[in-house]
Every structure is written in structure tokens, then in C-alpha cells.
């Protein structure tokens, strides 16, 4: 099957000034698109040709894994933003965040710290390790928690391409900006 780049659920300039249209133009239009194109080229004539994206991520390694996982990770990342985000989680998500971290602020502090200190390229995730148990996890490069059957809830991309046009070396500023467009409505539905 041919994998396709999903459309963004908002306009390229919708997340300004927190994430610029120029960043999205490259991040979604070039990086994400390239992972999708590479994946389609690499799986031609292989055992992965007719598998779903999720199955490829779980079963592959090397170049196919990198491009499949980056395709999946970026879709998951872009889907969680909105120009009018819900900034405070409610219901079960709120309960689990409070239970695990004490408060939303405490969760954000711990999450920000791990996003800031991931060395090199990668991602920082909020995951549900077992039903009712949340954790924060860093992954390098294309690695993704759902390969190990951990449920992904929220993610920040800390590859430099995610923020370099907007905040350059100031990753902390990008992480701070991220919370202004992160839509907890999307995260609640993932639980």
C-alpha cells in the first residue's frame, strides 16, 4: 500500500506566533513528506509492502523503521495542535496526571526538563505504561514507545528542525511555546 502524508488539521499559520508558518512549511511539507516518500520507496518489493504503518514500525529495523516511525511520530505530533487549544485537561486524564505527578504544573515541569535535556535528536513523550499508570519518556532519533506496546498520549519533537527557524539554540523557549498550542482535547481522546 502507498502511504500518504496526512493533511494538517489547521492552516500553516494557525499556530503563530508559537510555531511559525515557515517552520510548519518545512517540518510538515518537507521533513514529514520526505519520511513518507522514503518509506514508500524502501518498502517496494519487501515483506513490508502491504503492511499498515503501525505493523511496519513494530516489525522493521534500520532505514525502513526510521522512515516508518518518523512518519508515525510526526502525524501524532502535528495532530495534537490547535489555534484554540484546550489548555487544562479534565476527566480521566486530569485524574491520572494528578495521581502520577501531583499536579498539571508539576507534570509540565518534569516533562519540560526531559524535553530540554534529551541530547541530540529525538522526542519526549507522555505514555501510559500499564492501564492507569502514566510516565514521561525520552526517545532518540526515530524511536517510538508504541513499538514496545506502550500507549502514546502526548509528544514533543526536539529534533532541531522542529524549532531552529523560530528559536535557534533556545530549545527551552520552543518547549515553553509548545504549551500554548497543545490541545488537551486531543490528548484526552487518546487515553
Amino acid at each position: 500500500m502507498i502511504h500518504e502524508l496526512p493533511k494538517l488539521p489547521y492552516e500553516l499559520n494557525a499556530l503563530e506566533p508559537w510555531i511559525s508558518a515557515k517552520t510548519l512549511e518545512f517540518h510538515w511539507g518537507k521533513h514529514h513528506q520526505t519520511y513518507v516518500n522514503n518509506l514508500n520507496n524502501l518498502i517496494k518489493g519487501t515483506e513490508f509492502e502491504n503492511l499498515s504503518l503501525e505493523e511496519i514500525v513494530k516489525k522493521s529495523s534500520g532505514g525502513i523503521f526510521n522512515n516508518a516511525a518518523q512518519t508515525w511520530n510526526h502525524t501524532f505530533y502535528f495532530e495534537q495542535f490547535s489555534a484554540n487549544p484546550k489548555k487544562i485537561p479534565e476527566g480521566k486524564l486530569k485524574e491520572l496526571i494528578d495521581k502520577t505527578f501531583g499536579s498539571l504544573d508539576q507534570f509540565k515541569t518534569e516533562f519540560n526538563q526531559l524535553a530540554l535535556t534529551l541530547f541530540g535528536s529525538g522526542w519526549t513523550w507522555l505514555i501510559e505504561t500499564t492501564p492507569g499508570t502514566l510516565a514521561i519518556k525520552q526517545t532518540s532519533n526515530a524511536e517510538t514507545p508504541f513499538k514496545n506496546s506502550e500507549k502514546c498520549l502526548l509528544v514533543i519533537d526536539v529534533w532541531e528542525h522542529a524549532y531552529y527557524l523560530d528559536t535557534q539554540n533556545a530549545r527551552a523557549k520552543y518547549i515553553e511555546n509548545f504549551w500554548n498550542v497543545l490541545d488537551f482535547k486531543v490528548i484526552e481522546k487518546r487515553l
Binding site: F119, S121, N169
Partner: protein, 201 residues
């Protein structure tokens, strides 16, 4: 003893149009500076450590990740700046030129192999030409690892280095890493590379 951020021997705009002044300034005064500061902070927690980065790198497995990451970042950037010049001969010189012909067949074949190593390093890292007692080998390392580190898969003495972290090229080239790699060939300090090579013989 503290390690210090070296000054560049050329101005930030000297490598234009291949590497732009804004990239050079942020790369040197922010990224390289942060590695230097963080390295000194990590070393300050130790009772004792060797005087040279080379000695630290050769036993890096005994140190914390903070020393490995920031020590690598400090050393790699020092080397990278020295290997760049506005007045490049654009082709290898001296004993290094001979060794490139000998070990890769031609300068063109060498270039192609180095380009592939730089383009295919997934994520952040460096592409290298190293000397293994005179024999030239091309490879790459992840993040701020380098071929002097005892934990590195690629071993040898660095002769040529290319930074392929996105911060090295994103303001000018964005996702087009191959264009940045192509530009690099116009600003290599081959005299310096030859000097590094001769030391390994």
C-alpha cells in the same frame, strides 16, 4: 583548569555564501559556548582529570554522559573551526593528497564516499575522515561522539570533520543537508587536514 572557548581565526562572515554569518555566530557563541560551559561544570564535580581533551576522550567510558556529550561537543567544534577557511585550495595537498589517491582511488571517489557518510548519518552527528596509523578511513559518529573515544565504533585520529547536526546548516539549508555537504568542499582547510594527517604517520 578550565577549558576555554577558542576564538575563530576568521570572521563570522568569512565563509559566506557557503556558511552564513548568522549560523556561524550562533554555532560558535551559543552551541560551542554551551558545550564548553557544560563540560567545565561536569568536570568541576570530579576530584581530578587529565589536562588534555585527548586523554579524557581516550578513556571516556569512565566518565559521565555529561562529560562525554559536552567534552565531545567542545573538542569536535574546536577541530571543525580549524578545518574551515575562506581561502581553500579546494583539493587535498601534500601527503594527505597522496594517501587519498592511494586509499580511495581518486579524490572524486573519496568525496562521494564522504558525502554518503555525511548524508546517511541519521539524526545528529559527525562525518569523519580518520587516519588509522596512516591508513585513511571514512565513517560517522552519532551526537557528539568522536573517533578518539574508547566507546566509538569508528576509531582513528581525525583528519577531516563535518558537523551534520541540524544546527550546523538549518538557517540556510533547512532540510537540504546534501546542499550543505556540497558547500563544505569549497571551504576546507586542506593545509590543516594535511598537518593532522602527517602527525599520525
Amino acid at each position: 583548569m578550565k577549558f576555554e572557548l577558542p576564538n575563530l581565526s576568521y570572521s563570522y562572515d568569512a565563509l559566506e555564501p557557503y556558511i552564513d554569518a548568522r549560523t556561524m555566530e550562533i554555532h560558535h557563541t551559543k552551541h560551542h559556548m554551551a558545550y564548553t560551559t557544560n563540560l567545565n561544570n561536569a568536570l568541576a564535580e570530579l576530584k581530578d582529570y587529565p589536562a588534555t581533551m585527548e586523554e579524557i576522550l581516550s578513556t571516556i567510558s569512565k566518565y559521565s554522559m555529561a562529560v562525554r556529550n559536552n567534552g565531545g561537543g567542545y573538542f569536535n567544534h574546536n577541530l571543525f573551526w580549524e578545518l574551515l577557511t575562506a581561502k581553500s585550495s579546494k583539493k587535498p595537498v601534500g601527503k594527505l593528497a597522496e594517501a587519498i589517491e592511494r586509499d580511495f582511488g581518486s579524490f572524486e571517489a573519496f568525496r562521494e564516499k564522504f558525502n554518503t557518510a555525511a548524508a546517511t548519518r541519521f539524526g545528529s552527528g559527525w562525518a569523519w575522515l580518520v587516519s588509522q596509523n596512516g591508513k585513511l578511513v571514512i565513517g560517522s559518529t552519532p551526537n557528539q561522539d568522536n573517533p578518539l573515544m574508547d566507546i566509538s565504533e569508528l576509531k582513528g585520529n581525525p583528519v577531516l570533520a563535518l558537523d551534520v547536526w541540524e544546527h550546523a546548516y538549518y538557517l540556510k539549508y533547512q532540510n537540504r543537508r546534501p546542499e550543505y555537504i556540497e558547500a563544505f568542499w569549497n571551504i576546507i582547510n586542506w593545509e590543516k587536514a594535511n598537518e593532522l594527517y602527517i602527525k599520525t604517520l
